[in-house]
């Protein structure tokens, strides 16, 4: 089987940070301040991105919004196809009722993770609104889901792999596209 190879660098660290700064401003503008906003990072890479977004909002507003972590494993629709052990348990250390919740994830693709995250967050209470922030929207939706805040739209083919690198899971902060040469593809 052919090895995947790096096709393109989409965003470097400075570009990712600028995108997160812009998203922070958009969140504050849309919600008329951040007083009622809480951020929820979807494990795994949404979690450190939510933390970055909290830093940015704190820099603008002077107050750090509450921050939670959401693992959607128990709500996924592909459970019968694959099951993986939980790597990081959910932690929602604030009351969800009446909040404006901003879900944060690295890549928006089929929309299935977001669907499971919506079900999961509803089991914690009844938020006033749920909004979605993603660093990359790569298209190919399978469900009627759209993001409210997008770092960058990256048109991609299904054969490509859009990788968001973010500490502590990766060295450095970046977005890359990888491709697997056609002759070796398939499992």
């Amino acid at each position: 089987m052919a090895e995947p190879r790096l096709k393109a660098h989409i965003m470097d660290e400075a570009a990712v940070r600028r995108a997160m700064t812009r998203i922070a401003h958009e969140v504050v503008e849309r919600n008329e301040g951040s007083g009622n906003v809480a951020l929820v990072g979807i494990v795994r890479r949404g979690d450190p991105l939510a933390r970055m977004l909290a830093d940015e909002i704190e820099a603008i507003e002077g107050v750090r919004p509450p921050l939670g972590t959401l693992d959607t494993s128990f709500y996924r629709d592909d459970y019968s196809k694959r099951v993986v052990a939980v790597q990081q348990a959910s932690e929602i250390p604030f009351a969800v009722d009446g909040r404006d919740i901003v879900l944060v994830d690295d890549v928006l693709y089929t929309g299935r993770t977001v669907r499971s995250a919506l079900d999961a967050i509803m089991d914690y209470g009844r938020p006033a609104t749920i909004q979605l922030a993603v660093l990359v929207d790569r298209g190919h939706r399978e469900l009627p889901v759209r993001a409210d805040y997008v770092g960058k739209n990256v048109p991609s083919s299904r054969e490509e792999d859009v990788r968001v690198l973010v500490p502590p899971f990766d060295d450095g902060l970046a977005v890359e596209i990888w491709e697997t040469p056609a002759e070796g593809r398939g499992e």
Binding site: D71, S73, F74, Y75, D78, Y79, S80, K81, R82, V83, V84, A85, V86, Q87, A89, S90, E91, D119, A120, D123, Y124, G125, E187
Partner: protein
């Protein structure tokens, strides 16, 4: 994805299997602490609880776990099942399996019954305690409790004390602890000792006072009065004096050492109330962990049936 199809014993589990179950159980422990203690993970799956031996604690724990996973469950007890009417266990299992069930949870007085069930069905099987053989979910909840307390299992030293000979808890716990890199020492009166402690990779002693200051965990086994064949101990007072964990002995333990017990407790026999209710006791944490660990085992065993398909 676990390396095993069924959870019959802990000796078949790898360190990676155990780590997956304990990590996933943390996720379920969080679910169990919410106002809505239910997830849709096992929606549409059917689980049969086949309890051929009376059990209140283990059965309630499994039942709660199934409900919180959104599985449909069916309870079959010894007195109401056709095993009593003379139908063989294998025939009973084949009949129920024909109704397309996904999992059997089996509790039996006879060691080996869960293996027999597994051979008679394509459904997954969890052993909920078979005779003096194994009780794997008890061992896993013990490991979960100990790991949550110390943050690790590797390098810990655990004393398992009491009725070693009649204990299925020992049969599951000692191998699982060894797999995870913990050291185990067995403590019991000569009449309760196992014939060959090296099978468990353990030392064995009859002197409880010699281990108190060395261990991180004192795991007190229940003296199984109902399983006792003949008079293996002279009296419960004498057992308590020689092997019971009392305040004097607890004071000799390391400052951060803990006390576990699989329950139900014989207060005044293997453990004194002042220790069972002390800051060292993790007995209620163990009960609490039971539901989360059983949810994790069922979740990981029943998922990924079509393993190998890419998405």
């Amino acid at each position: 994805m676990l390396s095993v199809r069924n959870l019959i014993d802990t000796t078949s589990l790898t360190a990676d299997d155990i780590t997956q179950i304990l990590d996933t159980a943390r996720g379920f422990a969080e679910v169990n602490s919410r106002a809505v203690k239910k997830v849709p993970a096992l929606r549409g799956r059917t689980i049969v609880n086949l309890f051929l031996e009376p059990s209140t604690r283990t059965r309630s724990s499994f039942e709660l776990a199934e409900k919180r996973l959104s599985a449909d469950s069916l309870n079959m007890g010894g007195s109401t099942s056709s095993v009593v009417k003379g139908e063989s266990l294998a025939d009973t299992i084949q009949t129920i399996s024909a109704m397309n069930v996904d999992m059997f949870v089996v509790r039996a007085r006879l060691a080996g019954s869960p293996q027999l069930v597994a051979r008679s069905t394509d459904a997954r099987v969890i052993n909920a305690g078979d005779g003096k053989h194994q009780h794997p979910t008890q061992a896993l909840l013990d490991l979960f409790t100990i790991r949550e307390n110390f943050g690790r299992l590797d390098g810990l030293k655990v004393a398992i004390v009491g009725d070693l000979l009649h204990s299925r808890v020992l049969g599951s716990l000692a191998p699982a602890l060894r797999t995870m890199g913990a050291e185990v020492v067995l403590v019991g009166p000569p009449t309760f000792q196992v014939a060959d402690p090296t099978w468990f990779g353990c030392e064995q002693t009859d002197d409880i006072d010699s281990v108190l200051s060395e261990v991180d965990v004192m795991y007190m086994l229940r003296v199984q009065l109902e399983r006792m064949e003949g008079a293996a101990i002279p009296s419960s007072r004498e057992y308590n004096r020689l092997y019971g964990l009392n305040a004097r002995r607890a004071a000799l333990m390391r400052p951060d050492a803990i006390v576990c017990h699989p329950g139900p407790i014989n207060r005044g026999m293997e453990i004194m109330p002042e220790v069972a209710d002390s800051h060292r006791s993790r007995i209620l944490d163990q009960v609490n962990a039971g539901v989360a660990v059983r949810m994790a085992a069922m979740y990981l065993l029943l998922g990924g049936e079509d393993h190998g398909m890419s998405d």
